[in-house]
């Protein structure tokens, strides 16, 4: 099989005439800022000393958000970070507990004849729904009550122990949801809810 550069030219090509190869220096200030930020965040350096640019010693205040110690009341916007304000209770809920996954999880527990954990979660979700209606009306961000946080923690614990493969549609979904749930777990723990 041989290819040449005239193969597969699009009959209705995109207009690329605005772009041309042209010498362009990198933006050193930006590179330096990026290197500093990586340093602050402790991003690994695969090959010894980092970027060749000299990184000055000045240390701007790190902006790492500290999760509030709030006896288990968890604000979803905290969980999602500064940019994470999400309107709508359902949308917020979906971020922390993807409906499809949770319902497969519940079904699995039911099939095994051990619905108690699920019922706890379900009750908490109902309570949350009621609580949430008020919050939504007043435009607040949803907060998890301690009960809800604990119920969620149980699900997470269970999932951490067994992996998500039995509950998720495919391994990619399982991987992603697992990571996210672990992030929630870390957050809950930092907020004082322990998942043991």
């Amino acid at each position: 099989m041989s290819f040449n550069q005239f193969d597969n030219l699009d009959e209705d090509p995109l207009d690329l005439s605005f772009a041309a190869p042209q010498p362009r220096k990198i933006d050193k200030t930006a590179a330096q800022a990026a290197a500093e930020l990586s340093e602050q965040k402790g991003y690994h350096s695969r090959r010894g000393p980092a970027a060749r640019q000299e990184v000055p010693q000045s240390q701007p205040t790190p902006e790492t958000p500290k999760p509030p110690r709030n006896q288990g009341r968890v604000k979803i916007s905290d969980l999602l970070g500064e940019e994470g304000k999400i309107d709508g209770l359902k949308a917020q809920l979906n971020f922390i507990a993807p409906a499809d996954l949770i319902s497969r999880f519940a079904q699995t527990l039911r099939n095994r004849g051990e619905p108690s954990r699920w019922q706890l979660l379900e009750k908490s979700l109902d309570a949350l729904d009621r609580e949430g209606e008020g919050a939504e009306a007043s435009g607040d961000q949803l907060q998890l009550s301690p009960d809800m946080a604990i119920a969620l923690a149980h699900v997470i614990k269970r999932i951490s122990a067994e992996g998500l493969a039995p509950f998720a549609a495919d391994t990619a979904e399982a991987d992603l949801a697992y990571d996210a749930l672990l992030a929630v777990r870390r957050y809950l723990e930092e907020g004082g809810v322990h998942v043991r």
Binding site: M1, S2, F3, Q5, N8, L9, D10, P13, L14, D15, L16, F18, A19, A20, P21, Q22, P23, R24, I26, D27, T29, A30, A31, A33, A34, A35, L37, S38, K41, Y43, H44, R46, R47, A50, A51, R52, Q53, E63, L79, L80, G81, E82, E83, G84, I86, D87, G88, A91, N94, F95, P98, D100, A169, E173, D175, L176, A177, D179, A180, L181
Partner: protein, 254 residues
Amino acid sequence: MFNITIANNKGGSGKTTTANLLGSEIYASGGSIIILEGDPNRPHARWAEKRGFPVIEGPKTSISNTEEASLAIADAMNGNRLLVITTDGDEGSVLDWIEAAAEHCQFLICDPEGSPNQWLQLAVSQADMVLIPFAPTTLDADQVQATIKSLKQTERMSGRKIDYRVMLTKASNGAVRTRDENELRDALTKNNTPMLTVALADRPAFRGVFKHNKMLSELDEADAGGLQRARENSKAFAAEVIGILKTKAQQVAA
């Protein structure tokens, strides 16, 4: 030259596939393209070798400055319009490659490996546009937010504006959308998160490019079904990205 960097702290979000599709569309439109890859698994390099495009193995090509990088690129491209440069995640060389690439292609696509790292931060700091792909059926959202947050931090520290777009990949194709997906889209829209309107659907043909080491335009129906719609989708995606860059170019010129 325009630098498009694909970023998401989350692994497996579709970065490499997105980079390949965009690169292939540019190529098919007659453009010149360099893909700079940070992933030590070198998916682009393997694809390019099998497809018959030149590859520079960064770790084996000892360059110590931009001039040497530029010579290496000229040598490797040798009239080709698509080149892959692998770096094995080595952030020490990424800035040299980026600066050198400017002279040799219209578009540079930087595709990092899927975890927060310095390579990614450096590429982002030089980007004309950062694309943040993520799959909607997951809880990827907090990673999107984390990615945006570090973009903003770099922006603040450097005073250089970073233009970014969040985009959906592996989205349900067309008529049927999951509730999660709708809610995610709504949430991001309400948040004023800059988003591409075109989402890349979850299509076998998009997996097929790496499976068969071809460009999307070279796959045939035996490789993957639904080719026509996949091609339309990929083209619409690339057209949107290129359109945004074109507008920027016109604004700069004005």
